[in-house]
Symmetry: D2
Subunit: 346 residues, 4 copies
């Protein structure tokens, strides 16, 4: 604001006086506090699995899963240095569990998802039931459920961890406890939850409960089959290709209250029109490959790569072969709060 | 009410006078209008498929599907004579469609379910998509959707029709229209709905809509597998055995707004404890066999038999071999209106 | 269906044979079971309060409230003779309680509404709290709540009772119990529910419960004031005038799960365009007067008159002075079941 | 973790190498990222109105409402310096509008609440309708609605602004626009929304919409009356006194999706038991006065003072006279995300 110098000086003196009382003038900060449009501090970035894998394996020599509790390399957004966050609300990491290891049992209010990247046959136990994990499978650890992992195979297993750690920290809602033993007792047979909740039926006396889905495994085989079938017959959305959300079968809502999860198929040689939405998202390539252009930045991705698109950043995909992407974002938070926007651009 | 004769006469005279004004005294009808407990006019009854099948086939000689529109024998409850109802709110019938026949396309506000009894490979088209039907499959025709059926196989096909016809009539909500052509055009590939809505995922921009599920086929193979798996590991409910409800994957609510549908497994040699609920139900035996005792009445059932248990009638099952029962009732109506009750008896 | 006589005979013989097995042919009843449009058995009818009042008062000589339990003259639709119903799903009656009388405490699964017609100061007690009732007030007795009435004034009090008796009977859901004493103990002060739930606030730990509103009195003074204010400034709907629904402040849904309740203002000299909806409705004139034309029938109504418009019956109002109508219908049932339709005609 | 020095050195070298690839080890940050319990960076603090008022009035000399857009002194938490936040998710400010001034019309995705502190008769216009504001009134400016304020009285008017600015910034969801003119046209009469939505009725064709309440004014007179009435007859909660939440009458849910608002009455001489909840809250004393003890800190408050209690901070109140407190917090966010906890301590 241009103004006579005496006004400027008078105002500055005033600001210094009131600062001691924990007061600041809104009118000097209006455009920062009430901006015209979002400008995320996060930036686009890609983590190449081929480049990272050696370091991940090296961590296996440096520390045991037991000592680490969780042997994970955090993927931290360059624009959010020091926060351990990949977008302002979300966290991502790559976890390694070696043959014979156990990641001890604990629970916390943060919700976690796992997307298996490499290795077949490790398990996650959630609230007394185990699930065996295969590449491409999407596994949920709901908030405040006891969970532990183990690898009874002879190969290392790696998965992508997604958690709402920054969001929960921001809201001052983080609680955590260790289970008194390394692993929890198993009280239900493997496959119970899938049979009980995942076959388009529910127990006759099921009572809807808020929170994450009562199924905690979404096997890639089934999700992939559905997506490929749809793609064979239905027209692709010019901005999204074929994109599905994983849902809670007991409510039809998102599989987790704080993180939306998606599986997306881009047909061979497909190029999407530019698109943006307020929820920043983490993408993981399961099959295929191509490019994601975000503003001036072009990220070339291949299978097992992970990359981040900040909120409200216009982006477009171009792929060579048929490509399947898993992604997650804080969309359910934004939708629950009536804040979410998307834009399909020309 | 015992009273002096002059009172009785005075009251009777009064009642005659006011009747001409469409007035009647509540106090003479209190226990009928506001009863202590329900006393359904429906009675228990069983229709043996072996006994009925010949007449069903005979109807195939008497009338074509085209002329009949729907060649169905209605299962009418002996206690509800003249209503075409099997319970006060529900309708049941057995429909026959012969090789090469088509049941012409129409739509109506009544919701319909089909439980395939005999014959493999007939189709139902709903809102532009076909589904192939196999024995034990549960198919929905949602309210006001265009639907037609056809049998391109070389065998007769029979299914159990369940509709909310009496309920819709009671509420004065019945509308119906014929499609201008015998069959509707197909605009989506077979299997589209199952892929789009039935794999624990939904399209990313799905908007929840009231009404029946967006999937309209619940294949017996999948439902049976889930139920058998549960039964293998989880304890049976002493009153219900293992009982699941078919749900709308987009909401977790009942597959249809007016009719609850259930699949129930009773292990070999199982005997349930007595149970009752306010929703009268139609049962259809898919596998196994045994008895259902309802008050003084014992119904012995075998595969493909259909029987009715009136509302609030205490009943118990006893089976020899592992038995799988499909059933439907007006439970969603009663629950939506906060009227439903159940009782597990000793 | 025209057909050769030998076919007709063959079919008739067939029908007789199968009738013994509780089977009937759908194709002979199709248009009755699946009609093109609703044809309610109910007919339009009006009960003039001036004509009825003498008989109502005469009932006060004939029987006590205690003996009658509820001293009510039922308004029975001429087209539903013998059912005690005013529309297929609804019941209406006029209840009289004389000075010093008590209508003993009981509860039943049927929900009741009261619209006070004459007399100021009688009370209804619901679940331990009393409400004082004034003309035009709308009072709820939720399903299964203990309720009793008393008249501590020196004037007779009359109200219109609306209940879902026929609906509950149809669904086989009727239960009833008498309270062990004539009146229930009062455990909350009068006005507690209105303060706790009715002032656009709720207790901080309120848990949403299904069923009727937690407030059970909607005073005419407040409802009328809101309606008159709206009518002063906002345009009238050409088909409905100014029409509001009473709602449950804890959900925004209808005040009762089974009966919709409405307050409607038609400005002086207003004539509505023709309108119809599938829910048959009972109207009660609180102020003003005019005509309701339903098909060929014209009902002239004045204050305190009650009249019924069957479901899907086209009707239009014409009033001389500003008119306020209370009405109730089974709209929430039809809406919950996705069956409700309305039509604004030219 | 105590370990041999060579391990420590090896690990540190490893950490430096991977940092260049935006990778960090989770196991070194576990307790910060997944804490045992919340430790909010916010601290307890009180802003005394008597101390602040002179500076607020001085701002009236320094800048016009038009130039400032909003002439507000932000209450910034000492523990959140530089963020303009009072709790991590919430913002608070005191806004002054002088006689004859207008705060120009704009809209933004951030939701705002106003609690009038001083001055009777200024107005807020929201989406084409004005509301006149009195001390103690709670006014909503829903997300993305045009709003402007004006003071046509001859006295300054001050209110407390509460907004979800930090939350919206965190989620990258901030959009804002100026209205093309200084004030928006009025298209509905004052009082329309209150009549249409606030009298326990809704328009007959109302469609539930997500977001803030359709009423945007909660007059203190009515809220206070309800609270005082409840307090007269009902027992006080030992931890909360009498505490109500403002609700959306069209849903029964919170009045705004992102901020819970509460009115709380503590009877004369009342002392609450210690209590904590995960949602940090801003309190404003409307009547009475007393102390709030938060850990080691005791805040003495009087009418028109504002103070903050961080999330999960145990606190207790002690009052001399009957005290009425308004408060707001991010409870609806935490509840929607299934993260909210409270604890009633001994």
């Amino acid at each position: 604001m241009n103004m006579p110098i005496e006004n400027r000086a008078a105002r500055d003196a005033y600001y210094r006086r009131i600062a001691g009382r924990q007061l600041t003038p809104l009118w000097e900060a209006m455009s920062a506090l009430v901006p015209e449009r979002p400008r995320s501090p996060a930036v686009p970035h890609l983590w190449s699995y081929d480049a990272i894998r050696p370091w991940l394996m090296e961590s296996g020599d440096l520390i045991t899963a037991r000592e680490a509790v969780r042997r994970v390399l955090i993927l931290e957004n360059p624009g959010l240095a020091g926060t351990s966050a990949i977008t302002p609300a979300l966290y991502a990491g790559l976890q390694l569990i070696l043959p014979g290891e156990v990641a001890p049992s604990h629970r916390h209010t943060q919700t976690a998802l796992r997307l298996i990247v490499e290795g077949d046959g490790a398990y996650t136990a959630v609230d007394g039931e185990r699930v065996t994990m295969r590449p491409g499978d999407f596994i949920i650890t709901p908030s405040w459920t006891w969970h532990d992992h183990g690898n009874d195979t002879d190969q290392p297993v790696v998965w992508l961890d997604g958690l709402d750690i920054p969001l929960v920290r921001f809201l001052d809602c983080g609680f955590a406890e260790n289970y008194p033993h390394e692993t929890q007792p198993l009280i239900r047979a493997e496959g119970d939850a899938a049979a009980r909740y995942g076959a388009n039926m529910l127990p006759v006396d099921h009572v809807a409960a808020p929170g994450a889905a009562p199924i905690f495994s979404y096997p890639y085989a089934r999700s992939r089959e559905a997506l490929v079938r749809l793609a064979a017959d239905a027209p692709a959305d010019p901005w999204l290709g074929h994109k599905m959300q994983y849902v809670n079968p007991a409510t039809g809502g998102p599989a987790m209250p704080t993180m939306g999860t998606f599986l997306q198929l881009l047909p061979a040689a497909f190029a999407t029109r530019p698109y943006r939405s307020t929820d920043g998202a983490v993408f993981h390539c399961i099959e295929g490959g191509g490019e994601c252009r975000i503003g001036d930045v072009t990220l070339a991705f291949a299978p097992r790569d992970t990359f981040v698109v900040p909120g409200w950043a216009t982006h477009a995909f171009r792929v060579r072969e048929r490509t399947i992407l898993f992604s997650y974002s804080d969309r359910p938070v934004q939708r629950a709060l009536c804040l979410w926007r998307e834009e399909r651009l020309a």
